[in-house]
């Protein structure tokens, strides 16, 4: 996600507010546009068929509460010290309460 934030200002809040209630777009399309993944629109025709299939299979799925993560990706991400350190600012200074246990 961090990398995406760098690119020509996708993820703009106002943009989402505008797209949110645009009924011509499916939620998947809204999010694609919002994330600025529209650039790939150049590839058309025979690839379009492929995408439609992919979309259909996504629509076949049931609702999930837990998103489907790729755990290998996650493992890679969180064993990277840089990401690990970046998250530290979200953590209260630990061990101050004297119950850090073991």
């Amino acid at each position: 996600a961090r990398k995406l934030h760098g690119r020509k200002r996708p993820y703009r809040t106002g943009e989402l507010a505008r797209l949110l209630y645009d009924d011509n777009l499916t939620p998947t399309e809204v999010l694609k546009r919002w994330r600025g993944e529209e650039d790939e629109e150049a590839e058309v025709e025979d690839e379009e068929e492929f995408f439609r299939k992919a979309k259909e299979s996504a629509a076949e799925q049931d609702d999930r509460m837990i998103p489907d993560y790729d755990y290998e990706e996650l493992e890679k991400k969180w064993t990277d010290p840089e990401n690990f350190e970046a998250l530290r600012k979200r953590i209260a200074a630990g061990g101050l309460h004297g119950r850090s246990g073991d």
Partner: protein, 404 residues
């Protein structure tokens, strides 16, 4: 709610977001019609067993609901009634416990039923007390993406506290179970007691996610060695301890339940069901915001407990990184409660990636379809990448309560 002049039915298509739409329909009193439910599926078109079971539950806790299926189950008409809860003599036993049997073909965890039921419960006329039992109760996390019952108890129920709903809420797990063979069925038993009914939930302003101060968790091993718990806990702690020293994971090792499995020479034979293990982790911040993660062993097995522990820990870190005051699992609950609040602007800070998920975008649209207020979005600022969503409550609240 469904008075003499009931509003025209709202029309939806597809099986996705069905539960969420049924809940919104019941809360707002708008009848709905859903068509094309898995109509393109060759193998099993129409409503799935767990969806039918949920409809039955809905019928049991309301009075005057009308549910009609088409012959193939691909279309559904629902006209909501009043939410009565577990009133004695209305499906519930004398002591006010409503038994809900989940069929053996159920592939979803019991949280699939618990979360929507919890949303209806505050607006019920009498307390809700439902015992989930039968051959389909899965208390663990499932491969179909449901959270475990421990996560519901430790991460979702506390959300209600923010809305002023905190008394007599309890989830009792009397028997744990993982999914049975083929991901179907389980032998669990869970009782939900929701004894706090309100007229309107409080308007909330959740704008400070705070910092993670502690991590709690439950490791459960059902019908298998308790050593699995120790191994999951050790692996999860290996990842999380450098972050948060205050990490405590409890271990629950229970025997598996039995299901009847009649044989030729022994009609009363029983067999163990729902063995397995899993881990539920909840990170709590200084302001009471909770992030949850859930992983259980897949039905086929073959995954060492260390992997489950690590996966769960990574999933938790991911949820913490996404930020905001609610995680993906809790967003539906929090947003719906806000929309049902008094006619005042409630605000909640939500992570960009949480808000920017398909389910939440669809939720925003469904809110609008049901005549609930549109969402106002703005940046949180202060170096945070989150978005603040403001929702005006509808002020309808508890119709049953108004009379009482």
């Amino acid at each position: 709610m469904a008075d003499t002049s009931s509003p025209p039915a709202l029309h939806f298509t597809g099986h996705r977001h069905l539960v969420e739409r049924l809940v919104l329909s019941t809360l707002t009193g708008r009848p709905i019609r859903v068509t094309k439910i898995r109509s393109s599926s060759v193998t099993d078109p129409g409503l799935a067993p767990y969806e039918v079971s949920f409809l039955r539950l809905l019928e049991a806790v309301t009075n005057g609901s009308q549910i009609e299926f088409s012959y193939t189950g691909t279309a559904l008409a629902y006209r909501p009634g009043l939410i009565t809860g577990s009133a004695a003599g209305h499906g519930a036993s004398i002591d006010g416990v409503l038994r809900h049997e989940i069929p053996a073909s159920c592939t979803r965890g019991v949280s699939y039923f618990l979360l929507p039921l919890c949303l209806l419960a505050p607006f019920s006329k009498s307390p809700v007390n439902v015992l989930f039992t039968g051959p389909g109760v899965i208390t663990s996390a499932t491969p179909t993406g449901d959270v475990s019952v421990d996560t519901v108890r430790t991460a979702i129920l506390p959300i209600y506290e923010q809305f002023g709903i905190m008394n007599k809420l309890e989830i009792r797990t009397t028997q744990r179970s993982n999914p049975g063979p083929g991901g179907k069925g389980g032998t669990g038993e869970v009782q939900l007691i929701f004894g706090h009914q309100v007229r309107l939930p409080k308007t909330v302003h959740l704008l400070n996610p705070g910092r993670v101060k502690s991590i709690r968790g439950v490791a459960y091993a059902t019908g298998v060695s308790g050593a699995n718990n120790a191994r999951m806990i050790e692996a999860a702690r290996g990842v999380l301890n450098p972050f948060v020293p205050d990490t405590r994971i409890f271990s629950e090792n229970t025997a598996a339940g039995f299901v009847p499995a009649p044989e030729r020479n022994n009609a009363a034979a029983k067999r163990k069901m729902g063995v397995g293990f899993g881990l539920s982790l909840v990170a709590e911040t200084s302001t009471g915001v909770r992030f949850s993660a859930d992983v259980a062993v897949p039905v086929e097995g073959g995954v060492p407990p260390e992997d489950i522990g690590r996966k769960c820990a990574f999933q938790l870190l991911e949820a913490v990184e996404k930020g905001g005051c609610v995680d993906v699992v809790a967003a539906f609950t929090a947003l719906t409660l806000m929309a049902m609040g008094s006619e005042d602007v409630g605000r909640i800070q939500i992570g960009r990636d949480v808000l920017g998920s398909e389910d939440i975008v669809q939720l925003a649209r469904d809110f609008k379809t049901f005549g609930l207020s549109g969402w106002g979005l703005r940046d949180a600022g202060e170096g945070s990448e989150d978005i603040i969503v403001s929702i005006v409550g509808r002020g309808v609240g508890n119709v049953g309560r108004k009379v009482a």
